[in-house]
Amino acid sequence: MIKVISLSKKFNSQWVIRNLNLNIKKGEFYCLLGPNGAGKTTTLKILSGLIKPTQGKVYLGGFDVEREYLQAKKLLGFIPDTPFLYENLTPWEFLEFIANIFGIEKNTFQKEVNYYLELFNLKEVKDTLLKEFSHGMKQRVLYIANFIRHPKVLLIDEPLVGLDPHAIYLIKDLLKKETQQGTTILMCTHILSIAEELSHRIGILDKGEIIVQGTLDELKKRMGDTNLEEIFLKLTETGE
């Protein structure tokens, strides 16, 4: 579902991604770990089509992100670490805007939005302006905006920033369900426990290169360590 071939990105004279290759299957939860400045966010932005690669190709659901960007974006959901929302809209209006853009029918939209607003405890504030919301509440609205359309590919950058334990529990549960329904998820995070708990495969990115990837068991076997934290620290210690 996500195919990255020899991806490289250079800003001015500095390479931030070098020869990155990824192949993530349908319904797989892939977690990309790495220290600060490793190139995780840049990778996600290239995959979402926000930044053009210097070299290499990205395919989402078989569509070239650069050439067939409209088809690719119809499949794509993206949750950035600092979300953009129209601050002077209510959550309902914002979600309606998203639903219209993705062509979700009115009845389906109302049913889905009501369900998720209830689930995320936002029903009472659905007519309040988004500018009144805390970071965590805005993040929840952004998750709803993605969940109502059930994207085939979901890219998540730092998924749990600003969320309370209830919301974290809920989101972890929903993300698991999404993968069971066939959604492919690529997530970048610093929280190793989330990666251990949710992902099918893990990749560790350092200085723009994937230094190791595989299932958690494969990584443990290869590195001879008992947990992900030790593996991560060992592999990235020179970089930090």
Partner: protein
């Protein structure tokens, strides 16, 4: 629901939200807007009355002024569009958000174009509508005149915006700082050549606003679209309906062509501009600058020095800020090109008085626009990082003082220089020079206090892009307040001189000095009140 509808919905929501939350403030703002519109209308009527009562020459001047006004407005809208397109299109998180959605690039650029058109032209459009109503009243024209005039203004704004659109796309896509300076140098050399050519022309005594005034000629060229508006309006005034239709057809066909080209150009050039300025600029490296070394000299307290250095660096690293600065000076070139042609020394005292105060008014308007553009957003420029200043071991007063010095010194030097150059060009008396210089410096002090104070009062640290603060309600209030202050100042002192020349005041010096003391005291008092208002609001602000 398309992105434009979303913007309208946001506007409706924020209006209702504000009305519900702060009903009194909302009422006061509405009242302030209505009073401003009425005030501008009567100021224009009075101004036109003054010109009409000068006799036959008055109506000639009025028509010439129309040409100049529309040509200047054309370039001002284009510049304003360019800046807003950069801030709300290229440097906007909203654009990044839209690029993630399955929307075609032409559609996104089309929407961003209209957004910038609206933001850059709503104030000039309101001004033009008021202008057309005042013009109708003073010339006793048909009640349909202002409504048909509006039909001229709409394509005029679209064409001006399109000029801003292609210029900004071109500059953002193809020019870097090095190329920009080479380009500016070539342009300056060309303008100097043009200036020299003008100088070698016949040296007759040129009459005020005659055909020989370079900018007037430029503003009347038949093939340039801004002259079509004035020609159409003049034809409308004289009931030449055929001509009106021709000029309207010209305007609408050209604006339709522009609209067709917007998505096409956007499709080709917008994305490279966005990549270059939204992402790549963050990755630049900045070695130690000259300013680091200059400010090492310990002539300022450490807090002031550090904040000054930060503000200078932020200014220099934000092209939207220094580009505006350069554009202002480009426009000034045209102003001075015409100023030398006024043959001020050969005029009657009544004209000398008018020209001298008009010149001071022009310089003060420049001070006003610079202060709104650069001083007002000073606090919003801190953005989400304001907590750093708030937690710094310095008082807010020191930060206020630094911002004041950072704004006042350059503005005082610029405006003082402009007054000096324009007075030399007008060959005015030393007493006139000192008088206008004093007025300018005090006005500098006041406009900066108003902009800094109101900037602090309306500071919005959560804005997507801080330069948008200028277009906020706070920015509009600061603009109205600054302009009102300038108009009152010029009107007061010009009237004293005018009444003296008409023989209605006998002791000019005594009356002028009395008013000068009163005006200075009130100006300083108001400045401190506004500064205090902003300071208090900022001090209480929670993060």
């Amino acid at each position: 629901m398309n992105p434009l509808t979303i913007k309208l919905l946001s506007f409706k929501n924020i209006t209702f939200f504000y009305r519900r939350r702060h009903p009194l403030k909302f009422f006061l703002i509405i009242l302030c807007i209505i009073l401003t519109i009425i005030g501008i209308y009567f100021a224009l009527v009075e101004g036109f009355n003054f010109l009409i009562h000068l006799g036959g020459i008055g109506s000639v001047i009025l028509k010439r002024l129309l040409f100049i006004m529309f040509s200047i407005l054309f370039f001002m809208i284009a510049i304003s569009f360019g800046i807003l397109f950069y801030t709300s299109g290229v440097k906007s998180k909203e654009t990044e958000f839209h690029l993630l959605l399955p929307q075609s690039l032409p559609r996104i650029t089309y929407f961003k174009f209209w957004e910038a058109v609206f933001l850059s032209s709503w104030i000039p459009l309101v001004g033009l509508i008021i202008f057309s109503f005042a013009y109708t009243k003073i010339n006793h024209l048909s009640f349909t005149y202002p409504f048909i005039a509006i039909f001229h203004f709409i394509p005029f704004i679209i064409i001006a915006s399109f000029l801003g659109y292609i210029t900004s796309l071109g500059v953002l896509r193809f020019l870097n700082i090095k190329k920009f300076f080479i380009f500016s140098l070539i342009l300056t050399l060309l303008l100097i050549l043009l200036y020299k050519k003008e100088l070698t022309q016949e040296k007759t005594v040129l009459y005020f606003l005659s055909e020989k005034v370079a900018f007037l000629k430029f503003s009347q060229l038949w093939y340039l679209p801004y002259s079509w508006v004035t020609k159409g309006l003049v034809a409308l005034e004289e009931n030449y309906w055929g001509k009106v239709l021709i000029y309207l057809s010209n305007l609408y066909s050209l604006s339709a062509l522009c609209i067709i080209f917007v998505p096409l150009l956007g499709d080709k050039f917008f994305l490279p501009c966005f990549y270059k300025h939204f992402y790549a600029s963050h990755k630049k490296t900045y070695p130690t600058s000259l300013w680091d070394n200059i400010l090492k000299i310990k002539f300022l307290p450490v807090s002031l020095r550090n904040f000054l250095l930060k503000d200078i660096k932020l200014f220099l690293r934000e092209p939207a800020l220094w580009l505006q600065f350069l554009v202002f000076f480009g426009l000034l070139f045209f102003y001075f090109l015409n100023l030398r042609k006024f043959s001020y020394h050969a005029m009657e005292p009544i004209w000398k008085n008018l020209i001298s105060f008009l010149n001071t008014f022009s310089v003060l308007c420049i001070v006003c626009s610079l202060s709104i553009r650069f001083v007002f957003p000073q606090w919003s420029l801190e953005g989400r990082n304001f907590w750093i200043l708030k937690l710094a071991p310095f008082s807010l007063k020191e930060i206020f003082l630094e911002k004041f010095i950072f704004s006042f010194l350059p503005l005082a030097i610029i405006s003082g220089g402009l007054i000096l150059v324009s007075n030399i060009m007008l060959e005015s008396q030393p007493s006139t020079f000192y008088f206008t210089l004093f007025i300018t410096l005090i006005t500098c002090f006041v406009t900066i206090s108003f902009s800094l104070g109101l900037g602090a009062y309306f500071a919005d640290f959560k804005r997507d892009y801080y330069l948008k603060a200028v277009e906020s309600i706070g920015g509009v209030i600061a603009l109205i307040l600054n302009l009102t202050y300038i108009i009152i100042t010029i009107f007061t002192f010009a009237s004293i001189n005018h009444l003296f020349l008409r023989g209605k005041i006998l002791f000019l010096k005594r009356v002028t000095n009395t008013f000068l003391v009163l005006w200075t005291s009130l100006s300083i008092l108001f400045s401190f009140v506004i500064l205090k208002l902003g300071y208090n609001k900022l001090e209480k602000k929670e993060y």
